[in-house]
Subunit: 460 residues, 2 copies
């Protein structure tokens, strides 16, 4: 889209959303996401901030009529550049920020796409309920973006990913129709599961404007158990013992030795000199359940740990998770930049995946470390770079591609939770059978015949 | 398909699956399902019983080349005539009955489509694990059919429906390719969610030959709590109190007064003279959790119940569920036949849905009763008929259509768990927006361009 087009678009779209909410001077903070730490930037001709689902429909219809691409942006916390387009309309959902309803007596909520994940969790908690999906960056991340990417996080081990909590969607489908799929009804097999097809479609099949969410009673107690092992092998054996314990932990995380070298200083427990691996588990539920599960897990972790930290008071428990949430930042801080991926493998291949992903970094001459959601086999390996050193960034890009090959070799996937975005386009065809790849494209063309919804993202 | 075609098909297909397993003399038991109690029968030119997934692919390819319809049949326990075709090939999955793998240490199993649901649960239990989906008829129902219909049952209240437990599928896609989607990897957002699109597609998008299942540690304890209330209103208030109790019961069922009149005699508890409603709850989990949840639930049910039965010994607990599973038969036994549906509504509309569904029966001059999965708002209302009385059967058909209208009026769906099959074709277009209905058809045409996979089923 050439220079000057932005002004024309902004004028026309301003008539739909209000002149204050359509501009061709797109602030730079709208053109980045969590991939800023690897130097990725997007482009847009005009930023549009609709104030209602009807306005979203009007904007999409307007664009669809004129062949203008539409990239939808949530909180901008993505790790795959999924909302970083190369032109056309950037549709920010920030003004669709109403919790439309909360019905605590029936464990449910309807929230507009731009409500932050933190607010969803907070509103639920205020009513004695729990929304278990926590992909991180809670105060920025939008619930609509969580649905569009099928977000996960630590607690998906017990509670599953977004798909499990989204019972209905309000969505704008091409060429610009506002449609409700599903809703408050908890079971529905009257048609194909379009709700779950939209969940995880990364803005390529429609624009999500609101979500009908399931909630559950808040756990009475949540106990983190943090154990340090001497090395990767001992750590993975501990993970297997947690699986076999009979408990169903809410979360089952790992951090490798290198990660502990960066983040160990702030770790809320006394550490041995050379911690080789750590496992973080959470036991939750009714008081009696959480306590029983905690006991089982402490037992199996203590068998072969260097140190175990299992606080029962709220402040210490919260400190553990605060520390865990700061790990990604501590890693980035090492060299100013990092390229990281989120491959997932069958959990029995976890040890191999971690070891080989670190070996990939070594092969490319890059410091690297690995942490992630052990129970789900979801490996976040990061290659640390100086962003100013383009050769090094190139090495890291190559290392990421090796990670994708590794995931496939171990029977896994190139993305467990971050999505394909613009960084992993073209990977799916190496992972899926040709007929399935063909159907992937055909479904997209069915929903978006003009190819205007988030073009360039989620390519097979 | 005209007379004589069956013999030709059987000969050709016998060369793929073995002559013993392809026949144009289709035994009548292959042409019925649970809708026999409403007089429905299917037709087929040839019955084919492939012995492997590769043979399924060959059969589908053979049919696809020659424009022969393929109807896939699991255990024949469906309530929507989903596997009762009108001709062509009837593909029975009974010989694909291998548990390909069970890995208890990683909570997972791979089972071929024809493994019974009972066997899946049994194999899991032998290894200390739990597969929570129990749609009933456990010894007949196939796991492949459960996936194809996105089956539910009582324990879906806490544990969710099939979609939540199917992590991967082996499936034959038109024009006859054997493809694996998903697998052992627990999180995967690399492509659109084709697994969940196939789950619940009722054999119209592909033929499922094997499923990758998630399992969880078996609950240490399971406590049923059966409470009798004086009437519908008191019963629904009790259901709301269970929701508000802070516990997360595994199951939350209801039975109305008329159901109790038929099934009350065998109810494993002393009954008052005119029981008006009953609520059946199950508390489960680790011993400590189940006991704590049981106590909470007994408390809130006791507030306003006529009688509460909450056994803690295994034999009495099993007796409660055995009784519950016999309820549908006790109802059918009243008049020899019944037409029943499984609409689902938002749970706050449950009382209205039950009351109005019974009023529909009354309006059509039919004895009727209602029971189902209260927590999920899934209402099984049955109209009792003498199958020999065609006028009465006609009245019951009309009553079922009134149920569909009722479901939509209450913001619900025409099917919570049984599926569309051949009995609810055409209902979806009254329930979904036109653009969504259009996409439903387009998706089907994408997967099955010739319209040969279970034609006549799951029509919008």
């Amino acid at each position: 889209v050439s220079v000057g087009i932005g002004a024309g678009l902004a004028g026309d779209l301003g008539r739909i959303v209000g002149a204050d909410h359509a501009t061709d001077v797109v602030p730079s903070e709208y053109l980045v996401d969590a991939t800023y730490s690897r130097g990725v930037r997007g482009q847009a001709d005009v930023l549009v901030r609709p104030g209602s689902a009807d306005e979203v429909a009007e904007v999409v219809a307007w664009c669809y009529e004129r062949d203008v691409p539409v990239v939808t942006r949530g909180g901008g916390t993505g790790y795959a550049a999924g909302a970083l387009g190369t032109g056309g309309v950037l549709l920010s959902m920030e003004r669709l920020d109403r919790v439309r309803s909360i019905e605590p007596e029936w464990w449910r909520m309807v929230a507009e796409a731009g409500v932050t994940t933190g607010r969803v969790r907070h509103v639920a908690r205020e009513h004695g309920l729990y929304f278990p999906v926590n992909p991180g960056a809670l105060e920025q991340s939008h619930i609509g973006g969580n649905a569009a990417t099928n977000a996960g996080g630590p607690h998906s081990f017990r509670y599953g990913v977004m798909r499990q909590w989204v019972q209905g969607l309000e969505v704008v489908l091409a060429p610009g129709e506002l449609v409700q799929l599903g809703g408050h009804t908890r079971k529905d097999v009257a048609g194909y599961d379009l709700v779950r097809l939209l969940v995880g479609s990364e803005g390529t099949l429609g624009v999500i404007t609101a979500v009908w969410l399931r909630l559950i009673p808040a756990p009475e107690a949540r106990y983190p158990i943090l154990a340090v092992q001497r090395d990767l092998e001992a750590g993975c054996a501990a993970i297997e013992r947690v699986y076999a314990s009979g408990a169903q932990p809410a979360a089952l995380e790992y951090l490798d030795g290198e990660t502990l070298r960066y983040a160990g200083a702030t770790m809320p427990m006394p550490l041995p000199d050379h911690p080789g691996f750590a496992v973080l588990v959470e036991a939750d539920g009714l008081q009696a359940e959480a306590a029983a599960a905690r006991e089982l897990i402490v037992d199996v972790l203590s068998e072969d740990a260097v140190a175990v930290h299992a606080p029962t008071d709220t402040a210490s428990a919260e400190a553990v998770w605060r520390w865990r949430e700061g790990v990604a930042l501590a890693i980035t801080a090492q060299r100013g930049g990092k390229l990281s991926e989120d491959i997932a493998v069958p959990v029995d291949r976890l040890q191999e995946a971690i070891a080989e992903s670190i070996a990939i970094g070594t092969r490319h001459g890059l410091p690297s470390c690995s942490f992630g959601h052990a129970g789900d086999g979801n490996v976040h390996t990061a290659f640390l770079v100086d962003l100013a050193d383009t050769a090094e960034v190139g090495q890291a890009e190559a290392a990421c591609h090796d990670l994708f090959d590794l995931a496939r070799r171990l029977g896994g996937t190139v993305s467990g939770e971050h999505g394909v975005g613009r960084l992993k386009g073209g990977q799916l065809r190496h992972q899926w059978a040709p007929r399935a790849v063909e159907l992937h494209g055909a479904i997209r063309a069915t929903f978006d015949p003009k190819g205007l919804l988030n073009p360039g993202a989620k390519l097979a």
